[in-house]
Symmetry: C2
Subunit: 263 residues, 2 copies
Amino acid sequence: MTNYENMAPNEIRDLIRKQDITGPTAGMSKGFTQANLVILKKEYAFDFLLFCQRNPKPCPLLDVTEPGSFHPSKIAGDADIRKDIPKYRIYKDGVFTEETTDITEYWEDDMVGFLLGCSFTFETPLIEGGIPIRHIEENCNVPMYKTNISCEKAGVFEGPTVVSMRPMTHEDAIRAIQITTRFPSVHGAPIHIGDPSQIGIADISKPDFGDAVTIKEGEIPVFWACGVTPQAVALQSKPSLMITHAPGHMFISDVRDEKLSVL
Amino acid sequence: MTNYENMAPNEIRDLIRKQDITGPTAGMSKGFTQANLVILKKEYAFDFLLFCQRNPKPCPLLDVTEPGSFHPSKIAGDADIRKDIPKYRIYKDGVFTEETTDITEYWEDDMVGFLLGCSFTFETPLIEGGIPIRHIEENCNVPMYKTNISCEKAGVFEGPTVVSMRPMTHEDAIRAIQITTRFPSVHGAPIHIGDPSQIGIADISKPDFGDAVTIKEGEIPVFWACGVTPQAVALQSKPSLMITHAPGHMFISDVRDEKLSVL
């Protein structure tokens, strides 16, 4: 098996572009930041950019392409967001229509690509800090929940904050708050800790997205704002065309995780 | 003399709206964040928002109004950015034409207001940390310099990063880096320390904006990205109409300085 973990981001992107890689990107180019993708037409771009600016915790923008440009100049100038993601999803009028490995045929001259930070970036330092991540231990997707915390509206975009949850001991929770505080540009510190009902989660064993994980005796749930929020909110407004990455099939940038920490 | 220092932000804004206050806002509503203002028409708003997103250190956005709305809903929902700043500057086609205390007559339905973080917010914790601020000691404006550090271009907006400079002892410089790191949303940590020539400053005694200050024996200059950058860059593109606050005449928000720290 090829050792994707130690390959450079541009090498991985090259394999993705050739469609030699079409699966999930977790663990590839270790140490480099992976990003969520949302592509919208220019008519929605100002409102969506404003939405992200007003809601930086769930919508941490790493890069926004110039309208019509498919190069994310800030985080990987030689990349092509039409081809360098293993799997895309196409949504028309808010309805999922297709999964594809190349969106060149869908690209239009007024499209804007939004690259958003992802929790992979802060999970690495958590693990290196000795904090076990339950959904990784249980080899499933992180549990995600809609909350009663409204995002700040911007133009046509509005909706609830989605959170991801990681259960841990109380001591680890304190350390996790410290560690993720260092990364304000990839969700930052948790937005809630301890009582799911306070943020509108009725049943912690029934996530709205992802998979349920075990919460052990003596552990508390820790909630971070989640990058699913902007996609969910964008879909609600039913744009004529919206393209995203498929879950787990992320964009691998040239930016080292550590570059995103403020200290 | 009225004690403006301990008045609430909405009380000060009310006096400004009545034009009972028309002077600089330094020291008013102590502990609450003051902001720079740039108003542009919608046609420039996406590019300018993108410029700020790409250059967060010189252009730390605290709020952006909905097109046509004069209420900065995130930082002071009941405020009116047409009236609640003591003095405005009007620029037509990139040329300064007028100073005024109320811009209601200039307001158009497609205007967008950008409120940007200001170094007042991090100077307070520096002073409280025992670090003397030279331009405050010398009762003048902070020295600012154009550098050879290009901002990331966005649409029509491009130009050099402008920095502000505060000289201090080497020990204080270390502490100042720690303190301002806590405030990534108001310029954050310095972008250079020590050698002005490395960032394209030929003569430290001749600032491009503001006033020169004394640099004492054994002190080093510490440079922060400066909120003058976005205004300077916007002007270079000669928008048909642009409105800003007059220097030192800031918008006083309802947000406490400490709210902007990440730890």
